[in-house]
C-alpha cells in the first residue's frame, strides 16, 4: 500500500490514479462526517467532490513535514459542512499550506481507521451524557460555548466546565491509547 506522502508525490505529477487511491482511502470517512453534519446526501457529496478537486489543484503546495493530509481533509470537511449549514463563507485557513495539523496516530489503512473508530467511540461512550452532548454540539454543529448555553438553557459556566472536562478526558484517553497503539 502506497503511503499518503507517496500518493501526494504522484498527485503533483498529475497521476489521476493517485487521487483515486486517496479518494478510496478517505472518501468514506469524509462522507460520514459531512453527512452527519449536513443530513443532506447531495450537499455532502458536492462538498466531498470539491475537497478532492481542491486537493488535485493544490497538491504541489502540500508539505508532509508540516502536517497530516487526513488531518487537513477532516478539518476542511468539517469547516465546509458547518459553513454550508450556517449559510456562511468558509473560514480562512483552508489552504493545504496554511493548515498544520498533527494527528496522534496513522489512519492510512482501513484497519487503522476501524481501530480508531472503536477507540473514539469508546472514549465518547465513557463521557457523562451532558458532556458528550455538548461536545457533539460543538463538533458536529459548530456551536460555541455561548451558543450551546443558549440552545440548551444551561448556564454558560456549566457548559464551559462540561466541554473542558470532555476535551480533557478525550485528550487523556486518545493520548494514552496512541502511546500504546
Amino acid at each position: 500500500m502506497s503511503s499518503d506522502a507517496a500518493l501526494m508525490e504522484r498527485l503533483v505529477e498529475r497521476d489521476e490514479t493517485a487521487l483515486a487511491a486517496l479518494y478510496d482511502r478517505y472518501g468514506g470517512m469524509l462522507s460520514s462526517v459531512l453527512y452527519r453534519i449536513l443530513r443532506d446526501t447531495q450537499a455532502a457529496e458536492e462538498i466531498l467532490q470539491d475537497i478532492f478537486h481542491q486537493l488535485w489543484r493544490t497538491s504541489a503546495r502540500f508539505d508532509p513535514n508540516r502536517g497530516s493530509l487526513p488531518g487537513w481533509l477532516m478539518v476542511i470537511a468539517r469547516n465546509r459542512a458547518i459553513s454550508r449549514l450556517r449559510q456562511r463563507r468558509p473560514e480562512a485557513g483552508e489552504q493545504l499550506v496554511e493548515n498544520t495539523i498533527i494527528l496522534p496516530c496513522s489512519v492510512e489503512s482501513d484497519a487503522a481507521q476501524q481501530e480508531l473508530l472503536g477507540r473514539v467511540k469508546g472514549a465518547l461512550d465513557g463521557l457523562p451524557k451532558e458532556q458528550r452532548v455538548a461536545l457533539e454540539m460543538a463538533y458536529f454543529e459548530g456551536f460555541t460555548h455561548s451558543e450551546i448555553a443558549s440552545r440548551t438553557g444551561d448556564p454558560l459556566g456549566t457548559v464551559k466546565t462540561r466541554l473542558r472536562s470532555a476535551v480533557e478526558t478525550l485528550r487523556r484517553k486518545l493520548g494514552e491509547q496512541s502511546a500504546h497503539g
Partner: protein
C-alpha cells in the same frame, strides 16, 4: 493573553471552535507570536479532528468518484498568469513633457477607472460562472442518481419490500427496492418529520446476524422522498425496519420501530 494558555485544554477548545469573544481573541493574539503554542495547537487540531470518527459510517455513492475523475478532464490545468510588464516610455522634459503629462494624466485616471470597472465586471462574471458550474454539477448529480435508481429498479433480481407503520407510531409508509447482487437499495416513502434531536434510521435485518444500518434520514416534511444507499453485497434480507434513534443514528437499533416490512 500575554503568556501561554494556562491549561492544555485551551488548545483543544480553540481547535474545536468552542471559544468565542475575549477568550478566542486572547488565544489568537498569543498564537500569532508563539511557535511553541502553534505546535500544541496543531496537535490539538489533530485530536479534535478524530471526532470525525464518531460519525456513523456513510459511504458516498459511486457517482461522486466518477464525477470527480470526469471533472479532472473538464477543468483546465492551472496556468501561471504573468501579465506583460508595461515599461513607462520616456516623457521627455520641458514644455512638451508637461504637455504630454497634461494629456496623459487624465488618460491614466480614465484607464485606471476602466481597469477597476473591468476588474469588478470580471469578478461578477467569475461569480456567475461559479454559480452556473455549481448548478450544472447539481443537475448532473441528480441525473446520475436517477440513472442509478432506474438501474436498480429495472434489474430482474431486485426485490420489493413494503414497510408499514407499527401501531401507535404515527403515519407513514415506504417501499424498499433492494438488489443484493448489486449491493444497492432504493428507499421511497413518506413519514412524519422526527421529533427534535431524533433521526430515522433504516435497517436491513439479514437472515443471520444483527441488523445492518442502511441509512439515517431526517425528513423535514411528510412529503414523499426517494434516496439510494449502499448495502452489503450478497446478503439476503429477512426484513427491513425504520427505527427512531438519537440524532445522527446509532451503530445498533435502540429506539422504537416505526415502519416494518418482511422481505420474504
Amino acid at each position: 493573553m500575554n503568556g501561554h494558555p494556562t491549561r492544555e485544554e485551551d488548545f483543544d477548545l480553540y481547535a474545536l471552535g468552542a471559544l468565542d469573544g475575549d477568550e478566542k481573541q486572547a488565544i489568537e493574539s498569543h498564537l500569532a507570536a508563539c511557535s511553541e503554542c502553534a505546535r500544541k495547537l496543531a496537535a490539538a487540531k489533530g485530536r479534535m479532528a478524530l471526532l470525525a470518527f464518531a460519525a456513523p459510517r456513510v459511504e458516498p455513492s459511486p457517482g461522486v468518484k466518477e464525477r470527480l475523475m470526469r471533472q479532472l478532464h473538464s477543468t483546465a490545468e492551472g496556468r501561471a498568469y504573468s501579465p506583460a510588464r508595461i515599461e513607462p516610455e520616456s516623457m521627455g522634459g520641458g514644455f512638451f513633457g508637461r504637455w504630454w503629462a497634461a494629456v496623459l494624466a487624465p488618460a491614466a485616471v480614465a484607464l485606471a477607472l476602466a481597469t477597476i470597472f473591468l476588474w469588478i465586471q470580471n469578478n461578477r462574471l467569475h461569480d456567475e460562472d461559479q454559480r452556473l458550474q455549481s448548478a450544472l454539477r447539481t443537475q448532473q448529480n441528480q441525473i446520475d442518481e436517477l440513472r442509478h435508481i432506474a438501474d436498480v429498479i429495472q434489474a430482474h433480481d431486485t426485490v420489493s419490500v413494503l414497510l408499514k407503520p407499527m401501531p401507535g407510531m404515527g403515519q407513514g409508509t415506504a417501499q424498499v427496492l433492494y438488489n443484493s447482487g448489486m449491493g444497492e437499495l432504493v428507499y421511497d416513502g413518506w413519514i412524519s418529520p422526527p421529533p427534535p434531536e431524533k433521526s430515522y434510521q433504516l435497517w436491513m435485518v439479514p437472515m443471520d446476524g444483527n441488523p445492518i444500518s442502511v441509512g439515517v434520514f431526517n425528513p423535514v416534511t411528510a412529503d414523499s422522498s426517494t434516496w439510494m444507499a449502499k448495502m452489503p453485497q450478497g446478503v439476503t434480507a429477512k426484513a427491513f425496519a425504520v427505527t427512531l434513534e438519537p440524532a445522527g443514528g446509532m451503530p445498533h437499533p435502540t429506539g422504537p420501530q416505526v415502519l416494518v416490512g418482511p422481505a420474504t
